[in-house]
Symmetry: C3
Subunit: 187 residues, 3 copies
C-alpha cells in the first residue's frame, strides 16, 4: 500500500483514541458510585465492583488499570488530582483509600488482603491508607502488611514494600528500606 | 443514561463472567492432554501447545495466564489443588512439573530454558520441578538456573530466584536469599 | 466435543498465527519510517507514533510490545538483529537508540523522561543510548537517569537500573550494582 494512503488511514486512529477516552469516561461516570468533575478514563479500565468506587475531581486513569476484590465490597476511595498509570492493579478486598494528588506509576500492584499460608483460606482483609502527594514508582509492589503510606512519601521503582512508610520518607529496594527523607515540598 | 438502566445493563456482565468460566473450562478440558475433576479456567488463558499439558483435580487458573514453549514440547505437568493467579507466564520449553496444592501468585514468571549469551542460539532446555505446597509470591521471577523448589517453600513477592530452593525455605529479595525456614505445616 | 474434532479445529490456529505474523509485518513495514530487510513483527505490537521509528534488518518484535511517547516525537532508532521480547514497554519521549544485536527480554520497561516530583509537570526528555550486543534481562526496569548502556553489557533479570552501565559490565539487583565483567565475546 502507498504510504500516504496508510498515513491517512492512521488519522482516524487518533480520533478513535479521543472518542474512546470520551466514551470510557462517560461509562465509568455513569457506573461508579461517584466521579468528580474533570476526571477522565482511557478505554480498557476495569472495575470488578464499580458501585464501591468513588473518585474525586481532576483524576486521570490510564488503560490497563484493573480494580478487583476477592470478596465483599470494601471498596476504593480516591481523592482529587490522582493519576493512575497504565497496567496498575489495585486489590480493594480490604479497602483502599488514596489521598489527593498522589501518583501511581505504570505497572504497580497494591494488595489489601492476605491468606496467611493457606491459599484456599478466606482472604483476610487489611485496609490500607495512602496519603496525599505520594509518588509510587513503576512496578512497585505494595504488600498487604503495609497498612499506611504517609503524605508525600516516595516509593522507588520496583520497590517491594512490606511495612508502613512514614510521611515524606523515600523508600526503595527489595525489600524496601528508607533511603532518604523528602524535603517539604508544599504545605 | 439513567443509573438504574446502567446497573441493569451490568447484571448480564456477571452472568457473562460465569458463562465465560464454564465455556473456557469446557474448551481447555477438551484440548489439553488431561484435566482432573473440578478444575476450572477463567477466559483468557492461553496454552501454546495444549496437547503437552496435564492438569490435576481441583485446580484454578486465572485469566491472563500464558503457557508457552520456544521449541519442542517438553510440556507441563500440574498436580491437584494448584492455583495459578492472573498474568502468570510459564515457559515450558525445558519441561515444568508443579506439585499438589502449590500457589503461583499474580504476575510471576517461570523460565525453563536458557540461551547463554547468544539470544539467537538454540534454547537450552532446563527441566524444573516445583514441589507440593509451595507458595510463589506476586511478580516473582524464577530463572532457568533454579532447577528445583522443594516442598513447602515460600518465595517472596518480587523475588528473583537464581538457584535451587530447599524444602520449607523462605526466600526473598533480588537476588533471592534464604531469610527463614517455614515451620512444618502438614505432613 | 470429540477430541479429534477439537484438534482439527486447532490446526487453523497455527496457520492464523503465521498469517498474523505476515500481516503485522506488512502493516508496520508500511507505517514505520523505516524497516530493514527480514525484520518481523508478531501481531499485537503498538507504536504510538510510528513515523518516528526506524528499525534495522533482521529484527524480531514479539507481541505485547508497546512503544509510547508522552509528548513530541523524539523517536526510536533500532539497529540490525535486535530482538524485543513480549510485553516490553519502550518510552521514547526523550529519544531512544538501540544498537545491533541487542536483546530486550520479556516484560522489561525503559523510560526516557522524568517528572522530578510533580507528576503533572511537563515531562523532561532524557535521551538514552543502548549499545550493541547488550542483553537486558526479564522484567528489568531502566530508569531515565540511566543515559547510556555500553556495548556488550548484561542487565540481570528484575534489575532496577538507576545510572549508566559501562561496556561489558554485568549488573543485577535492586538497585542494580556491577557484579561482574563480561569476557570479550566478539570484536
Amino acid at each position: 500500500m502507498h504510504k500516504s494512503v496508510l498515513r491517512a488511514l492512521r488519522m482516524p486512529a487518533q480520533i478513535r483514541r479521543r472518542l474512546g477516552l470520551i466514551a470510557a469516561t462517560k461509562w465509568h461516570r455513569a457506573t461508579l458510585a461517584q466521579v468528580g468533575a474533570g476526571s477522565r478514563f482511557q478505554p480498557g479500565v476495569r472495575f470488578d465492583d464499580p458501585s464501591s468506587v468513588t473518585i474525586g475531581a481532576g483524576c486521570y486513569i490510564w488503560r490497563g488499570v484493573e480494580v478487583s476484590a476477592e470478596t465483599g465490597r470494601a471498596g476504593l476511595r480516591i481523592g482529587d488530582g490522582v493519576q493512575i498509570n497504565r497496567d496498575v492493579h489495585l486489590d480493594t478486598t480490604g479497602g483502599l483509600v488514596i489521598g489527593d494528588n498522589t501518583l501511581i506509576s505504570e505497572g504497580a500492584v497494591i494488595y489489601t488482603h492476605d491468606h496467611g499460608l493457606d491459599p484456599w483460606s478466606v482472604p483476610q482483609p487489611m485496609v490500607k491508607t495512602i496519603g496525599a502527594g505520594v509518588w509510587i514508582g513503576m512496578r512497585a509492589v505494595i504488600l498487604p502488611q503495609c497498612r499506611r503510606i504517609g503524605d508525600g512519601a516516595v516509593i522507588g521503582a520496583g520497590a517491594v514494600v512490606t511495612r508502613d512508610v512514614p510521611a515524606g520518607a523515600v523508600v526503595a529496594g527489595n525489600p524496601a528500606r528508607i533511603i532518604g527523607q523528602r524535603a517539604r515540598v508544599a504545605e
